[in-house]
């Protein structure tokens, strides 16, 4: 407290300290922007040359020009798509439970568990998936990776849904209930539609995060260099895993890896932008 009540002689020094600290805060913010700019700049510079027609239609190879990533794009869509199909209904309904019925001990515990699980290391989920599925079946399959990704998405979607639904004004619920509409119908017809843009935002962000994950897929899905459309049998290439394997080489193969990294980066930025626009466009109330 002494610094505030000092005599006026200290005023200049206090002003200067204030200025310095303001500059420090500015500097910290600039420090955060530099790596982002560097990552985006370098990924575009090194990845864009790889973006030719072959990149989007060809299959990966570890020699020559490195081929393309068409099978990995399809594979990522299948793996993440199935993961989303599993995680979204469970996550959204869990979120609804927490927001609408979760005002009890179980709700608190579940909330806590979901928060803690958002920080769980993804590689551990990957080896558990291996230990459960690959050991039992002796084979890789896309569906195993989807389960791992779904486990990562589930807590994120649950908490995002709960937070948004909790924001829906209770006037709306009361009005609907007063008209004699049962509670479950009120939730599904009034509360959820009101919060829909927020829920969609949470789902998009969770999906974007899952689509960029490499570690959970390494041992469950594996990778290959052809197009496998069957999610229940055999290895399937996913974009992050192909970037991972291709980057062990040099020259044009490495350039393909950078191209894949750029594709991941573009996807993340676009999904985040979409989520922002949806949320701002039709936010609550």
């Amino acid at each position: 407290m002494s610094s505030v009540t000092q005599r006026s002689g200290g005023y200049r020094r206090r002003r200067i300290t204030d200025k310095i600290m303001t500059i420090v805060a500015y500097a910290c913010t600039v420090i955060a922007v530099i790596p982002l700019a560097a990552i985006i700049f370098e990924t575009v510079r090194r990845g864009l040359p790889a973006w030719d027609a072959d990149f989007f239609t060809g299959l990966p190879s570890t020699y020559g020009d490195g081929g393309g990533v068409s099978n990995a794009i399809i594979g990522s869509l299948i793996i993440v798509g199935i993961a989303a199909l599993m995680a979204i209904p469970v996550g959204v309904l869990s979120g609804i439970y927490l927001a609408e019925y979760g005002n009890n001990r179980f709700g608190d515990a579940l909330r806590f568990v979901a928060d803690v699980m958002t920080g769980a290391p993804s590689v551990v989920i990957g080896i558990v998936g291996y230990g459960v599925f690959v050991v039992a079946t002796g084979n890789n399959a896309a569906i195993f990776g989807s389960v791992a990704l779904a486990i990562l998405m589930l807590p994120v979607i649950t908490r995002a849904t709960e937070e948004i639904i909790a924001l829906v004004p209770s006037d709306l619920r009361e009005a609907s209930l007063a008209l004699g509409v049962p509670r479950w119908k009120t939730i599904l017809r009034v509360v959820v539609p009101t919060a829909l843009s927020g829920i969609v935002t949470g789902v998009i962000l969770a999906t974007a995060r899952a689509a960029g994950e490499t570690a959970p897929l390494l041992f469950t899905v594996g990778t290959n260099s052809f197009t496998n459309l069957n999610p229940f049998e055999g290895a399937m290439a996913a974009l992050p895993v192909v970037v991972y394997t291709q980057s062990a080489y040099r020259g044009d193969v490495l350039e393909t890896a950078w191209g894949g990294a750029l594709l991941l980066l573009v996807m993340v930025v676009l999904l985040n932008l979409t989520a922002r626009i949806i949320f701002r466009g039709r936010s609550i109330r």
Binding site: L93, S94, Y97, F112, G119, R209, T214, V243, S247
Partner: protein, 312 residues
């Protein structure tokens, strides 16, 4: 309040039961993960016992594995990363919460979100092919010239080192620390600031004496969440840490972390002992991140209930 209204309605009961049932999936999953890791690490647990935790041996030839080198590598890299990221992250949070205009806030908020959303693999190849050569050419020579005599900066610099890994990690966890600290600072009531400003305090003094003590636990929680992220970080470290299970003494040596060792060695391992050891390391890693996250959540959630340290 509305529970009575719902009584007797079958649809309500079914719906509540359904959501409750689905809510149980998440906790059951976590229990399953623990059980699987425990059972599948049996070989390692029986062979090496509890001393697995502090055994620095890592020998493929003798098939003897201890977790100390990777635990040490994890703690060193994430410790340095959090030491670097915590002050900078808090600085960003202070700028966003106390200084920035709403417009800059929105833009910076988006930038921080993007930084947090960039996949680990992109950080990895950027770290290895761009950032590490930059360090080798521009940052390491002056450090070696001035501090090369100290043991922690001795030796020559390979691209993948503890030093590179710590810096990449600090960049990766910066958005986590910054965005959660910002939320915490924004939750400090404005009356705290107004009271201090009315006494004639400058903005910095207000922040230091009225805002920061109030938000102390929350900021600590944000730092712990960042630490949790650093400890669990995997793929980026497979590029920039070097996969060397040794007790390094210099930051310019290669090392290995728990998550990184699992990712690098699990797929290629043909030995049941190694595979089981890696699963036990996974179990330890899961427990450590679990504890860190529990601590962080308790601190962040505790904010607002009791302002602390105001009268000191």
């Amino acid at each position: 309040m509305f529970k009575k209204l719902g009584k007797g309605n079958k649809g309500d009961k079914i719906f509540q039961g359904l959501t409750l049932l689905l809510s149980c999936i998440l906790p059951l999953t976590i229990i399953t993960i623990f059980v699987i890791l425990w059972r599948q690490s049996e070989i390692s647990r029986e062979m090496f016992g509890i001393s697995f935790l502090w055994d620095p041996t890592w020998s493929n030839g003798d098939q003897v594995f201890g977790a100390l080198t990777v635990i040490y590598g994890t703690l060193a890299t994430s410790g340095i990363a959090i030491l670097l990221a915590a002050p900078v992250g808090l600085g960003i949070a202070a700028y966003l919460a106390e200084i920035a205009s709403p417009r800059i806030n929105a833009v910076m908020g988006f930038i921080v979100e993007i930084l947090a959303a960039i996949p680990s693999i992109v950080y990895g190849i950027w770290g290895f092919f761009v950032f590490a050569p930059f360090l080798r050419d521009w940052v390491v020579p002056p450090i070696q010239a001035t501090l090369g005599w100290t043991p922690i900066f001795s030796g020559s610099f390979a691209l993948s080192t503890v030093f590179t890994a710590s810096l990449v990690l600090s960049v990766m966890i910066l958005p986590t620390v910054a965005s959660i600290s910002r939320d915490v600072l924004n939750a400090v009531p404005n009356t705290q600031r107004e009271g201090m400003l009315a006494l004639g305090a400058t903005r910095w003094e207000t922040f230091r004496t009225a805002v920061l003590p109030y938000a102390r636990n929350g900021v600590l929680g944000a730092v712990l969440l960042g630490l949790g992220r650093a400890v669990g970080e995997t793929i980026a470290l497979t590029y920039v840490l070097g996969n060397a299970q040794v007790m390094f003494t210099s930051l310019f040596q290669q090392g290995s972390s728990m998550a990184q060792a699992i990712a690098s060695l699990f797929g290629t391992s043909t030995s049941d002992v190694l595979r089981s050891s890696l699963l036990e390391i996974g179990l330890i890693l899961f427990l450590i991140t679990f504890l860190i996250n529990v601590g962080a959540r308790l601190l962040v959630a505790g904010l607002g209930r009791q302002p602390s340290g105001i009268n000191t």
